[in-house]
């Protein structure tokens, strides 16, 4: 199946569901480094197709799931009552698939205003009681559909304004769902109200699918719905893209700056084409605020590129970009260089280019490259990129907002490094200080984010949801440290996390990760020193460490050896086990000044 990726990208065709078995088999054979999760799909309709499509999209993101499915329309009973099967399943995520067909009672025209208000509260309560119960019982992530509109309107337009109207009723419920989401972490709305509009309400709400199969939305709309849920999940598991690599000529503006001169570019509000490029630039600029890094890769003389970027009608200015590569080298080479400087993997860039030949080259030369088929018409660029959900935002950790600044500082460090001949001298010159402490609530979201997006400096590649991190944080049998690193160029924020669990006088290290933007700064030694200190305080004698190889963490193979551990065991696939007796441990950090959090009570 050579065209596999066509089935997996919007707009979706029936083929995805018809060939689901073959698609699934192919996706499973394509890789071996999986994130494993358990998802319960609790449905107010039949959910078999939804589950299958969701499984396929998640496999495509490297996420392999076990599924639990409720019986038809048993979502509420499954969640609300003692449910041994679901308890034993221990879901990481519960997805509740409901829609307007699951609203048991709508207002009737004779109802008073008070009666309708009460009815809204009742329907809302039916759901919010269930969410509260799930959080208490299962402590997992909840993804809940809001409501789609019905496909008929008794009063026509007045359904939207009259409090008896179903459109009005559903709008009120959706706002209440949204407010619950604002007040609760680990709760996410799958916005089928928007999806159904996007898809076309008449096709979405297909009575045939409902009467024949108790399927809602229409079977044909299932991939769109499942894709949306998969985007929320992959975002929570740190699989979002992180940066754009943008072409200039006929991508950010109309025309070729080297041939036509900056003054003749199509940009700004003077021409329809110019307006299309301007709106695309506004769309990209919005991503900058989300913490997505903008970069340019253009085949151009640098001075021509800059003259275009300095055009007065440009919405994006040169300082909106972190890296600008304007030269005649192959674009893949420029992309690799930018990825290296920013310490990102090349597949975390979304490569945007109007030239199909350049797109194809990147696909061939960069493994798992992300290259949307934007076509050549600027009026379609936003639509094509937006539907992909590359940057689905679930958690706004404060860290995201300052990420761009940190990448800029990193670029400065790279320059400073070049001016020292002795590496230790360079490290000393950075005036580094670190704060290493037990998890505190302020950093839960950042810790979760780091757990889920670190691939290279990661010994075991275990993934955690925020709910799991919160549990570990308050469990005394765990040693759980985060590390923040500062230097004279700026604050890197939380860059390292270590989790170990203690049984008697042995601590087994479950997770040891560090952000690649602080590689070779000595932070791993500072973390180990602090970890050892904590172990000694708990009268631990031995630390056990594990290394599980994946396609991405080859650099960690000898990590424990460098930390002074001895290798105990190695199996046929290269998994290794290491141990360290604490009385043999020698403190290693000498370049980072350690600061203790005075306001945190250490256990």
């Amino acid at each position: 199946m050579d065209n596999l990726h066509e089935y997996l990208m919007p707009p979706f065709s029936e083929g995805l569901l018809l060939k689901r078995k073959r698609i699934k088999r192919q996706l499973i054979s394509r890789r071996n480094d999986w994130i494993d999760k358990k998802i319960a799909v609790l449905g107010g309709t039949t959910t078999h197709d939804i589950k299958d499509a969701l499984e396929i999209f998640l496999l495509n993101q490297g996420i392999r799931c076990d599924f639990y499915e409720s019986e038809y329309n048993q979502y509420w009973q499954d969640a609300m009552f003692e449910n041994e099967k679901l308890k034993q399943f221990m879901p990481n995520i519960i997805f509740i698939h409901t829609g307007n067909r699951n609203i048991d009672r709508f207002p009737s025209l004779s109802d008073s205003r008070e009666a309708v208000d009460e009815l809204v509260d009742n329907v809302y309560g039916h759901f919010s009681d269930m969410w509260n119960r799930i959080f208490k019982q299962y402590g997992c992530i909840v993804i809940q559909n809001n409501f789609d509109y019905p496909y008929w309107r008794l009063q026509g337009n007045r359904e939207a304004t009259d409090y008896h109207g179903r459109v009005n009723f559903i709008t009120r419920l959706n706002l209440m769902f949204a407010e619950y989401a604002q007040r609760h972490e680990n709760f996410y709305i799958n916005d089928i109200n928007y999806l159904s509009a996007l898809y076309g309400l008449e096709k979405w709400n297909d009575p045939f699918s409902w009467y024949m199969y108790k399927c809602s939305p229409a079977v044909q709309a299932v991939p769109l719905l499942a894709y949306s849920v998969s985007n929320i999940i992959k975002s929570l598991l740190g699989k979002n893209k992180k940066a754009f690599a943008l072409d200039l000529d006929n991508t950010l503006w109309g025309g070729v700056v080297g041939d036509e001169g900056a003054e003749n570019l199509k940009i700004g509000h003077e021409t329809p084409t110019g307006e299309a490029y301007t709106e695309f630039q506004e769309y990209l600029k919005g991503h900058r605020e989300l913490g997505v890094i903008l970069n340019v890769i253009s085949k151009n003389e640098e001075k021509n590129a800059l003259s275009g970027l300095n055009h007065p009608e440009m919405t994006l200015k040169s300082d909106d970009f972190v890296m600008i590569k304007a030269n005649w080298e192959p674009k893949s080479q420029n992309l690799m260089e930018i990825a290296g400087v920013l310490a990102l993997t090349p597949d975390s860039f979304v490569f945007v280019d109007d030239n199909p030949a350049e797109r194809e080259l990147i696909r061939q030369q960069i493994e798992n490259a992300t290259v949307p088929e934007i076509g050549e018409k600027p009026e379609n660029f936003i639509k094509t990129i937006d539907r992909m959900g590359y940057f689905e935002t679930t958690v706004m950790s404060g860290d995201d907002e300052t990420r761009e600044r940190m990448y800029l500082e990193n670029a400065k460090r790279t320059t400073a490094e070049a001016s020292f001949s002795d590496y230790d001298e360079y490290l000393e010159s950075l005036d580094m200080s670190a704060e290493i402490s037990s998890f505190i609530p302020m950093y839960y979201s950042r810790i979760t984010q780091l757990c889920n997006k670190s691939n290279q400096f990661n010994l075991t590649t275990r993934r955690y949801t925020q709910a799991e991190i919160e549990k570990i944080a308050v469990d005394n049998s765990y040693i759980k440290l985060y590390g923040k690193l500062k230097d004279k160029f700026g604050d890197n924020g939380v860059v390292s996390v270590v989790i170990g669990h203690q049984v008697d006088d042995v601590v087994d290290v479950d997770l040891w990760i560090m952000s690649c933007r602080v590689l070779k700064r000595g932070m791993e030694y500072a973390m180990m020193d602090r970890f050892a200190e904590e172990c000694r305080r708990r009268n631990v004698n031995t630390i056990i460490g594990h290394y599980y190889p994946t396609g991405k963490n080859g650099m960690m193979k000898e990590f424990y050896g460098l930390q002074g551990f001895s290798k105990e065991d190695e199996d046929e696939i290269g998994n290794t086990t290491w141990s360290l007796h604490l009385n043999e441990y020698i403190m290693k950090n000498h370049v980072i000044d350690l600061k203790h959090r005075s306001d945190v009570q250490e256990r």
Binding site: S13, E14, L17, L18, K19, K21, R22, T46, H48, D49, F208, S209, Y211, M212, Y213, C215, V219, Q220
Partner: protein, 80 residues
């Protein structure tokens, strides 16, 4: 298009859905004879046929299907 020609055209739908490259359905094939032919498979077959020929069945038509032959006749009526 006669029933035989339609049958030939829709074999690929059955093969995809049941994930069996050698599957040959005939006019007499009933759902009970094919492993995994449950209501979900039924739904996919209907969807596949509708997408292939570009029309929609009615609920009445679908509930009347007893075997593949019934469906072929119905398809023939729609595309005549």
């Amino acid at each position: 298009m006669d029933s035989e020609k339609i049958l030939e055209k829709i074999q690929s739908i059955f093969r995809d859905i049941f994930d069996d490259e050698d599957l040959m359905v005939t006019v007499e094939t009933e759902s009970a004879e094919v492993e995994d032919w449950d209501s979900f498979a039924q739904m996919q077959i209907i969807m596949g046929v509708e997408a292939m020929f570009g029309f929609k069945f009615s609920t009445d038509e679908v509930t009347e299907f007893k075997n593949v032959g019934d469906m072929l006749e119905c398809i023939a009526r729609h595309i005549a």
